[in-house]
């Protein structure tokens, strides 16, 4: 079972798509998830997911805008997608049929 923060970060990585690195991942969480995380928290979570084999990362090319520093791009692995599906699915099933005053 995934932690809540792990789910949010993985969903954000999937939503951003090809160009998923630190900055857009965080702003996606801020925009859609409505919560402000520090970059360090995002990286820490990504690191944990990578250790578990749920996301992979690779280094991009150096870009002049960032003082010549390379970006690290993240992608969700098939195992990650499975875990996410399981996690979110479980939540959905648990919530289904309950009248909590919101649509599922």
């Amino acid at each position: 079972m995934l932690g809540e923060l792990e789910q949010v970060v993985m969903l954000a990585v999937l939503r951003v798509g090809d160009e998923a690195y630190g900055v857009p991942i965080r702003s996606e969480i801020e925009r859609e998830g409505g919560r402000e995380l520090t970059l360090a928290t995002v990286y820490k979570t990504l690191g944990r997911l990578e250790d578990k084999g749920l996301v992979t990362s690779y280094e991009g090319d150096p870009t002049p805008q960032r003082g010549g520093r390379r970006k690290r791009f993240y992608d969700v692995t098939p195992a990650g997608k499975r875990a996410l599906k399981q996690s979110v699915g479980a939540l959905r099933r648990m919530a289904a049929g309950l009248d909590l005053g919101w649509e599922t």
Binding site: V23, T38, A40, Y43, K44, G67, R69, R70, K71
Partner: protein
């Protein structure tokens, strides 16, 4: 918005680069920079962006790093020593965080000790170790003549020339005299301290101008010597660092002087620390003030390599003897002193600096003892933990490693606190040092001192780590585990008691020093200076520029200034004098009596010269003991030449105070004879601790020349400082270009003359306070530890019928024993160290029984107070609770 705010915080970046694992740093920092740039897009947000950058950095440092290290800790068993040690450090950090009171106390104690040591060392290092910041400083010497009393005397120019010509042991020599000038043109007129130096001066020191050229031999002649050298600071400040100044003429005292060059920024004139401008001496044999007995030049020289000081001194003694034979009436006796420049420069402050270094070393010792004590007490409380860990298989080395790591961590934190303390203390100290303190300009946080402190810190860390290890090693772990008692072995108590005794002893030594110094200062301040300094405002004024080319114009200016100030409401009396009592000037002239002829006129006593306006003595309330003072009638041009002498001078020359009507000659034997018309009270001109009080008072217009710079003294009704602005306006209403400097109350002038003692007392007092507090904390710690350990015993005792008084005696006698041993040891130490303070004491013996008695009583009282809380706790032990506890 400044450009500065748009750049990301450099320190944060540095922290990130060094602290983050390399695998993550690049992408993470890149992301941060990108965010920062986006946040900075609107100008007003730059500050917020920086703030957010810092927040991100701090969060990253605390979250990202430990996760990585967490892995290391898990791997620790069986891993490399360094990794284990790193894990121990982390574990230690956690433990320290869990005991914030202990940590704060230990870090604060270490910080104070280390910081104070670094700060004092920073002040001492340039003074004592690098007093002479020139190449081959060991070769530099000062040369003096022997005066009538066998003391050191400056040289007259002709003597200097003879020495310079004849010497074979000195490579080069130079002479220097003081010079105070007013710069005009290029902005407001300004008083600047300077020196007149022979052309060889900077060559002797081994200093080359950073800009322009050095003085030339051809310039060191009368009429050819309107050439100056500027200090780097003066050049930057007044002439805006304009390099075209070289070769240009600047206005000095209303006349043009050519600037030969500018000295390097690093140059400090240790012979005349206040000098900012140097003029080539330009003396010649025909000048009246170049004579052999016109002893006002300081002479320096560079000893040839492979020549000893003694050889140089012997040679100069020989030259001096030849001169004395040739001109017997010009020298009181033959003989010279050749003193290393280093010793000459630091001589006056050496005692203070050494005393302070000693005192601060004591403080550091106490701080270490205290932290060791704290650590020991903590180790006692944790003996269960060690026992359990040992039982579970932790090797002794492993336990030692952990304690060592904790000790090092504490020392590290203490070191950081110490750097902060030193960083705050050094500038505060520098501003309190007297202006003439050697190498004051170079007093900064000393890197060498920081290094030394870091070493001390490491040693301390190892020691305070090892103290509990040593004890853990000796205890029977199994027994400790079984009994569950918190009772400590006797050796441990002995160690703690030893530390407390040490602290009390060291604190007593410091308190005794502070006590002796404060008694000295009190004695000194109760010395009658011979003047009434209350409600007197003083300042130096100067008639400067071409308008004052004649003496008459200078006198007229001084008259108008006095009239303008006298007219102010709130002014009681006004006077002028060429030099202020206790103002730090030395302006002395030989006095010869007509009825006491001397075979050698050089043996005549020299007296402080006070050239005064009629109201001066009344303004400072210098009493007239016989005859009359200087009056208005004496300053008329036609007046008969008169003089008033101090009682000490009358006694010295005639052996009686009945000297009215005697004739004296002041200075050169060509000067007119003057009639003594009065005898005045003695004034302590050279310092409250100097009883040399030979003085003479001459009416203003009767001296050989006009002193263009004079001190204005104003007696006011009420607080003199309130009147300062009005007096300043009145002076400048006479001549707006007239510079006013050294505006101060007369009491301030007297206080300044004791600045060095005040500083020593202030620091000693502060150190003693810290020491006494730490010692009290130590006694408290040991006693409350003892009460906690013996709760059960105390409970049994009271159950068996011991009265509260018996319990109280039990605890207090223990505390009293510790304090008493400490006091005795400290007293012996204070007596032994007292002689090092001798040079700073005034009218107080280093073994002054009253002072020592008071500090012993004071520290005893503090120790008693520290005993009271643990003692109360012991009395309140409920026997039933105590017995049931285990």
């Amino acid at each position: 918005m400044s450009r500065d705010a748009r750049t990301p915080p450099a320190l944060a970046l540095l922290l990130l680069r060094t602290m983050l694992p390399a695998s993550q740093a690049e992408a993470f920092i890149g992301d941060l920079l990108e965010t920062f740039a986006a946040n900075c897009a609107t100008p007003g947000d730059a500050r917020r962006a920086r703030w957010r950058f810092w927040r991100e950095t701090l969060v990253a440092l605390v979250t990202v790093r430990p996760r990585r290290l967490g892995v290391t800790t898990q791997l620790a068993t069986g891993d490399s020593v360094m990794r284990t040690f790193f894990g121990d450090l982390l574990h230690g950090a956690r433990l320290l965080r869990r005991a914030p009171a202990f940590t704060a106390l230990a870090v604060l104690t270490l910080g104070l000790g280390i910081g104070a040591t670094t700060a004092i060392y920073s002040v001492a290092a340039p003074t004592l170790l690098h007093a002479v910041p020139y190449p081959q400083p060991d070769q530099l010497v000062t040369v003096w003549e022997r005066d009538a009393e066998g003391g050191k005397s400056n040289l007259g120019w002709l003597t200097f020339v003879d020495f310079a010509r004849s010497t074979r042991t000195l490579e080069r020599t130079a002479a220097t005299g003081s010079w105070e000038v007013t710069l005009s043109g290029d902005g407001n007129p300004e008083r600047v301290q300077g020196s007149r130096v022979s052309w060889t001066y900077f060559r002797v020191l081994g200093v080359h101008p950073a800009l322009g050229r050095d003085f030339l031999a051809s310039e060191d002649e009368p009429g050819n010597n309107s050439v100056v050298m500027l200090s780097h600071g003066l050049w930057q400040r007044r002439y805006a660092g304009d390099s075209s100044i070289v070769g240009r003429a600047i206005q000095i005292d209303g006349a043009p002087y050519t600037v030969a060059g500018v000295l390097p920024a690093s140059f400090e004139d240790v012979i005349s620390t206040q000098s900012r401008i140097w003029r080539v001496l330009g003396y010649g044999p025909s000048l009246s003030y170049a004579c052999r007995s016109c002893r006002h030049l300081r002479v320096i020289g560079r000893v040839k390599p492979n020549t000893t000081l003694a050889q140089a001194n012997a040679e100069l003694d020989g030259i001096s003897a030849t001169l004395e034979k040739e001109y017997p009436s010009e020298y009181p006796q033959s003989g010279t002193f050749v003193v290393p420049l280093q010793q000459q420069v630091t001589g006056a402050v050496r005692p203070v600096v050494f005393a302070l270094l000693g005192a601060v070393a004591l403080v550091l010792l106490i701080a270490c003892a205290n932290v060791a004590n704290l650590q020991l007490a903590r180790a006692m409380r944790r003996s269960d933990e060690f026992a359990v860990r040992a039982a579970l298989g932790a090797s002794r080395a492993r336990l030692a490693g952990q304690l060592l790591a904790e000790g090092l961590l504490l020392a590290l934190l203490g070191g950081v606190a110490g750097i902060v303390v030193a960083w705050l203390a050094v500038p505060a100290l520098a501003t309190r040092l007297p202006d003439d303190f050697p190498r004051l300009a170079s007093v900064t946080l000393d890197l060498g001192a920081l290094g030394a402190t870091a070493t001390v810190t490491l040693v301390v860390g190892v020691l305070i780590g090892l103290v509990p290890v040593w004890h853990a090693g000796r205890g029977n772990l199994g027994a400790a585990l079984r009994s569950g008692s918190r009772q400590a072995g006797p050796s441990r108590l002995v160690a703690r008691a030893g530390l407390v005794v040490t602290e009390v002893a060291l604190a007593l030594m410091l308190l005794a020093g502070a006590g002796l110094l404060s008694r000295s200062l009190l004695r000194l301040l109760s010395v009658d200076p011979g003047i009434d300094a209350t409600s007197v405002l003083t300042m130096q004024i100067q008639a400067t520029g071409r308008a004052y080319a004649t003496d008459a114009a200078v006198f007229a200016n001084h008259d108008r200034v006095r009239d303008a100030v006298r007219a102010l409401p709130g002014v009681e009396a006004v006077g002028t004098v060429n030099q202020l009592p206790l103002g730090g000037n030395t302006d002395m002239y030989g006095v010869r009596a007509l009825d006491k002829p001397l075979a050698n006129p050089e043996l005549a006593p020299s007296a402080d010269r006070y050239v005064v306006s009629p109201d001066f003595m009344r303004t400072l309330r210098i009493p007239i003991l016989h005859g009359r003072g200087i009056t208005e009638a004496d300053v008329r041009d036609s007046a008969a030449k008169v003089v008033v002498v101090s009682a000490a001078l009358a006694q010295k020359i005639w052996g009686t105070a009945d000297v009215i009507g005697k004739q004296v000659q002041v200075g050169e034997n060509s000067t007119p004879w003057r009639t003594v018309v009065g005898v005045a009270g003695n004034v302590r001109h050279h310092g409250l601790d100097q009883d040399r009080t030979l003085q003479l008072y001459v009416p203003e217009r009767q001296w050989l020349f006009a002193d263009d710079a004079v001190a204005l003294v104003v007696r006011t009704h009420g607080d003199p400082s309130l009147l300062a602005p009005a007096v300043r306006r009145a002076v400048q209403s006479v001549d707006p270009a007239q510079p006013i400097v050294r505006l101060e109350s007369m009491q301030g002038v007297i206080a300044d003359s004791t600045a060095q003692r005040r500083l020593a007392l202030l620091l000693f007092g502060a150190f003693a306070l810290i020491a006494a507090t730490l010692a009290a904390a130590g006694i408290y710690g040991v006693l409350s530890g003892m009460v906690a350990e013996r709760t059960r015993e105390i409970g049994v005792r009271s159950a068996l019928g011991a009265t509260p008084r018996d319990i109280l005696r039990l605890v207090l006698s223990r505390g009293a024993t510790l304090a008493a041993i400490g006091l005795v040891v400290g007293l012996l130490g204070a007596l032994a160290l007292g002689r090092f303070l001798q040079a700073l004491l005034f009218a107080v013996s280093p073994a002054d029984p009253l002072t020592l008695g008071i500090v012993v009583a004071l520290l005893g009282f503090i120790a008693l107070v520290a005993c009271i809380i643990p003692a109360r706790r012991a009395v309140c032990v409920d026997p039933m609770t105590a017995l049931r506890a285990d």
